[in-house]
């Protein structure tokens, strides 16, 4: 990279990091939301009268 | 006199009376303004040439901060005692009432800042030729600061940490006024024609006068929901 390797590659690396982070965060959130919702629905069902 | 005009005059008189009875509210931003500017020579050393170069920026930044400091007073007390809800429910357009409140706020913070600024200019070694420019630029710029600040104050009404939040919201929006306000004063010192600065500051004022009351009124409606 003609002596500019550090600057060029850290720019591209940083871009990759930002893109991956923005992808990872919603995926992790999705997992948490699903887990919480399953729990929420299970609780709701168990509290409903006549469900036994 | 129509009902609307009567309401406006009444609101203006009320806001001014209340503020003058609680005079510390008026004095605090002013004292803050003076102290902040006075700190700079202590931090940088009393070299007149240095002070002269930084004076326009320092005085303008201090004016920005002092205005911001006074913003929570704009709606907070009226919100606490329920007056604000009465204003929202009144038959008069809320944007006009907001404009009146901002006008009162400016008379009690912006105008004192403008009036005291020559004293600080002397302290900062600003040449006398730049004095009138400083006063005029502050006179055009501080109303814009109050108007934009009203939107921030209305949005953060009743929120925890509202004081810091309002600075995050409002300070970035203040940059154009700072650039052209301080730029005009620095321009006069450097011997540049500064008519364009004043035209732009006046344009900002016109834009802020027409748009911000609506935004602030909408923000108040959201906050009082």
């Amino acid at each position: 990279m003609g002596g500019y390797g550090f600057y060029v590659w850290s720019s591209y690396g940083l871009a990759l990091l930002v893109l991956l982070l923005n992808l990872y965060l919603p995926l992790r959130r999705r997992k948490t939301v699903r887990r919480l919702l399953h729990e929420f629905l299970r609780l709701k069902r168990s509290l409903q009268p006549g469900s036994e | 006199m129509s009902d609307f005009l009567k309401a406006i005059a009444c609101l203006l008189r009320r806001d001014l009376t209340i503020a003058l009875r609680r005079s510390t509210d008026v004095l605090t931003p002013l004292v803050f303004f003076i102290i902040v500017v006075s700190l700079f020579p202590l931090g940088l050393g009393p070299e007149p040439a240095v002070l002269r170069t930084i004076a326009p920026g320092v005085i303008w930044v201090a004016a920005l901060l002092a205005t911001m400091l006074s913003l929570n007073r704009l709606f907070a007390n009226d919100h606490a005692d329920g007056t604000l809800e009465q204003m929202v429910l009144s038959p008069h357009p809320l944007a006009a009432l907001v404009l009146v409140k901002v006008a009162a706020h400016w008379m009690l913070t912006g105008l004192p800042l403008v009036l005291i600024s020559p004293l600080l200019a002397i302290q900062m070694n600003l040449p006398e030729s730049a004095m009138s420019t400083l006063i005029l630029s502050l006179l055009l710029g501080t109303p814009v600061l109050s108007l934009l600040g009203a939107v921030g104050a209305a949005l953060t009404l009743g929120l925890r940490g509202g004081g810091v939040l309002v600075s995050l919201l409002v300070l970035p929006l203040y940059t154009p006024v700072l650039i052209f306000g301080a730029g005009a004063v620095a321009g006069v010192i450097a011997g540049i024609e500064v008519e364009a600065h004043f035209s732009l500051l006046a344009a900002f004022l016109a834009l802020a006068l027409t748009l911000t009351p609506w935004a602030a009124a909408a923000a108040l409606r959201v906050s009082l929901d």
């Binding site: 002596g3 060029v8 720019s11 940083l14 871009a15 923005n22 919603p26 999705r30 | 650039i179 923000a219």
Partner: protein, 245 residues
């Protein structure tokens, strides 16, 4: 209007977005791969800046995205305010973190580009300065949104901030530009996109379109999460989860 409300119903949108995201993700990968290939291997070195100009293929699209996303946020906020459409509220709120991260990317790559070009990590260059102020605007938007507990109220307050911001951005941009030409020392050369050659323009545009598609992919993913959370009391969410487990 009834079309807007039909397609903007959370249930319809959840399913629709779920089908769309894999395609958008694939398109993002394709566009970015093509852009990177053209930008890193095909485009020749710049005769003035050497290889360092290749940072432009990240920096310039990121800067474009930061403004584009703010405009999207304000537009969605306005629609949400006027017609009271929940979906646009969620879109606006989910734009902000992505937009802020692109703004951060533009700032960081600008700094990395500035070091070899100016010999300093930071210069008060017009584009970097406006980008910095835009970053502050994003932070203000997000902190206001986060400090209001009720999501509907938060969305409406944030929409007002975004609208005020979007009116101000051109003014700020112009002011900074003007301030910069006045104070610019002669030694600081302007970095940017001078008389660009087609072999450099192609990767630039590919990267920009790739970032845009990426933004929509991520925004849809975020919105799907929020829909599930907000609609947890409805029967369709219960059925959806029932079918899955």
């Amino acid at each position: 209007m009834q079309y807007l409300h039909k397609y903007a119903s959370p249930k319809f949108f959840y399913v629709f977005a779920g089908k769309l995201t894999p395609w958008l993700a694939a398109l993002t990968v394709l566009l970015l791969a093509a852009g990177l290939y053209l930008g890193l291997f095909i485009a020749p070195a710049d005769y003035q800046q050497g290889e360092s100009y290749r940072i432009m293929f990240i920096h310039v699209p990121a800067a474009w995205m930061s403004m584009f996303i703010y405009a999207c946020m304000a537009g969605a906020g306005a629609i949400a305010l006027v017609w009271n459409v929940k979906l646009f509220e969620m879109f606006a709120a989910n734009c902000a973190p992505v937009g802020a991260s692109f703004t951060f990317l533009a700032l960081a790559t600008g700094s990395l580009w500035g070091k070899p070009m100016w010999g300093a990590w930071w210069a008060w260059d017009a584009r970097l300065t406006s980008e910095l102020i835009l970053f502050f605007l994003y932070i203000g938007y997000m902190s206001l949104e986060a400090s209001i507990d009720d999501p509907r109220r938060a969305a409406r307050a944030a929409a007002i901030v975004a609208l005020v911001g979007v009116v101000n951005i051109p003014v700020i941009h112009f002011s900074v530009e003007w301030w910069n030409t006045l104070h610019q020392p002669a030694s600081v050369s302007k970095m940017g996109t001078p008389s660009i050659h087609p072999s450099m323009l192609a990767p630039l545009l590919l990267m920009a379109v790739g970032f845009t598609v990426y933004f929509f992919t991520v925004a849809l993913m975020r919105m799907r999460n929020e829909i599930l959370e907000r609609e947890r009391h409805t029967t369709w969410v219960a059925q959806l989860l029932e079918n899955e487990s």
